[in-house]
Amino acid sequence: MNAELSAASTGPAGDEDVLLRVESLFKYFPIKSGNPFRRTRDFVHAVDGVSLEIRKGETLGLVGETGCGKSTLARCVARLYDLTSGRVIFDGQDISTWSARRMRPLRREIQMIFQDPYGSLNPRRRVGSIIGDPFAIHKIATGAERKQRVQDLMELVGLNPEHYNRFPAEFSGGQRQRIGVARALAFTPKLIICDEPVSALDVSIQAQIINLLADLQAKLGLTYIFIAHDLSVVRHVSDTVAVMYLGKVVEQAPVEQLWAHPRHPYTDALLSAVPIPDPEHVSERQRIILVGDVPSPINPPPGCRFHPRCPKARQACVDSEPELTPRLGDAAAHLAACHFPVQDGEDISKSRPSIGADLRVIETGLVGGS
């Protein structure tokens, strides 16, 4: 994708192309304290000020490690969680404070596909009735008409409509995921949130589901938020990718731009950690191996949240939080939150932090190719 082009098409606020806008969204979960006399409560800072935009018909990839808040963000967007603060503007309407009753008609337009095709389908119910649920809930189409619409959906996602009366256990993992997709498509939603839709599937089946999602997007003009920890899958499906770390977006860019010029050291490390199925290039690749684990989201580190693990950390990273903005003369669509962004061709595995060196030892090395 051309970086300049996409930058130019990112219009000002109110752009008609924008399907979803998230403005400084916060979601804190209170933690129950064991001591009833303790006044102050602790909070998990699951999403800590995220702003995003998705245009119609595009796919936004959300990546980050476990616990970085990507699923929470998606659930806030779908209003499965109430927001702590911030705004969610869907199709021109601010839905951030809508009641459950008022949200109901809108639920047809925002749908979710979940990771586990075994856990997200009721094993005691027939597939036809599972896919027919949205019609029952919204009291649309009954009897033979509902059956017809369900069978049309089954056909659309590549299931045999004759299997209408089967149970989920009679389907394989890939087929079950198709059932989940069919259910999400019942009312031709505008936005589908795919939360790790292929992570539980085998490689050969993964490709089938990814192709199906791509076909449906082209056919029905769907917009996706695609959450996955497999970065090669995200790269394949996304137009724009947002990288999250500890509740914040640390970098956001058109997909090829992000892979070619990662600016945030975390993005750089994340991309370099992906094993490439190409043994000929393994030995050439220098990997950035991050030390330690993601800090607790209850007390996130001050300044840049990545500084305790960052090979480029300086004092400024502790003192002030970097803004999410274009760095090093990048196009307007490429945002990074880093005081010392990675230059093109820079090898940050050779960098050493100038602060807190006692806290960590930066390990770098080649994993493969002896």
Binding site: S204, D278, S370
Partner: protein, 363 residues
């Protein structure tokens, strides 16, 4: 801490292993289970070998039998009908008495599983569990000494402040740390062989990189051989010396890493690689393998991959192809009826594809 690329860093791999005895030699392993639905033929005639210090990757989808094969070798498949041989240091693991097996398991062969949370006991401190493991096999060692060893091991696998963390409970560890603790436990008695069953599947890529590095370093330090079971071809490309590709309980192809990725022979291997989202490629359609893996209760009569193969011939549906060498490379084996000489295979494949374009349509 980084091992210098000295004697241990570079592993000399004798091609064809002339004169050397393999550390583990599995021959014609069959494993089946009797279930209410019928007999599950989980493993059907699998053979492979691994030399000292080598890394063998076993790839396959769920239900391909890759885990059952290794668990059977370790004597962990109770109630299964097993035949074949698994010679470890010259002794057959499959016919060993339970007490003898006990002495091998953990001490000579270490194991790491996919889910580190369910492999660690939640009620006992991590250190205690490592100490118990050491004392079970080493009756001489004092408690204090074993404890000291546990701290050493945790330090070795990169747990920060191991002297303090040794008294933590498993839930106080993060996912990556738990997996490191499992590695520490598996390496406690410096086993000759480490079997890692999807060790990084439940982990984030950044943590996966850390864990793979830890395994690699320990391997260089102790000369341990590693059997790495995974479905991630990226991991295989980075760490395996030799690769076994399994499907429907049988070995489809076996080759060294480079050959497998660049000059593979079996259509299943090719299909697996093609279905990956290309790392550097554009956003084109993925070339998925149509259909589903076969049921291990109701396997097709010929080649198990025949129903999904784009090059399928009549013979494939009747006879099971033997695992035979490809070309002149004795280390490269493929179980496929296509000619085992590359130019001939290419000609026949073109001919088949030209004949039946309709069959190639994606299911």
């Amino acid at each position: 801490m980084l091992c210098t690329t000295g004697a241990l860093g570079v592993r000399a791999r004798a091609p064809g292993r002339v004169g050397s005895v393999a550390l583990l030699e599995v021959e014609d392993l069959h494993v089946s289970f009797r279930t209410a639905d019928g007999i599950v033929q989980a493993v059907r005639g699998v053979s492979f070998h691994i030399d000292q210090g080598e890394t063998l990757g076993i790839v396959g989808e769920s239900g391909s039998g890759k885990s059952v094969a290794t668990q059977t070798i370790m004597g962990l498949t109770r109630g299964a009908r097993v035949s074949g041989r698994a010679l470890f240091e010259g002794r057959d693991l499959l016919t060993m008495k339970p007490e003898e097996m006990q002495a091998v398991r953990g001490a000579k062969i270490g194991m790491i599983f996919q889910d580190p949370l369910s492999s660690l006991h939640p009620f006992y401190k991590v250190g205690w569990q490592i100490v118990e493991m050491i004392r079970l096999h080493d009756h001489e060692i004092s408690k204090a000494h074993a404890h000291k060893r546990a701290v050493e091991l945790l330090t070795l696998v990169g747990i920060p402040q191991a002297d303090r963390r040794v008294d933590d409970f498993p839930h106080q560890f993060s996912g990556g740390m738990r997996q490191r603790a499992m590695i520490a436990m598996a390496m406690a008695l410096s086993p000759a062989l480490l079997i890692a069953d999807e060790p990084t599947t439940a982990l984030d890529v950044t943590v996966q990189a850390q864990v793979l590095l830890v395994i690699k370093r320990l391997q260089e330090e102790f000369g341990t051989a590693v059997i790495l079971i995974t479905h991630d071809l990226g991991v295989i490309a980075e760490v395996a010396d030799d690769v076994v590709v399994m499907y429907g309980g049988a070995v489809m192809e076996q080759a060294d890493r480079l050959t497998l990725f660049t000059a593979n022979h079996h259509p299943y291997t090719e299909g697996l690689l093609l279905s990956l989202p290309a790392y550097g490629g554009e956003r084109e359609r993925l070339r998925s393998i149509p259909g589903q893996p076969p049921s291990p209760i109701n396997l097709p009569p010929g080649c198990p991959f025949a129903p999904r193969c784009i090059y399928v011939m009549d013979r494939c549906r009747i006879d099971v192809p033997p695992l035979a060498p490809v070309g002149t490379d004795s280390g490269h084996l493929s179980a496929c009826w296509l000619p085992h000489e590359m130019a001939g295979r290419e000609r026949l494949r073109r001919k088949i594809l030209g004949q039946a374009p309709s069959e190639r349509a994606e299911a």
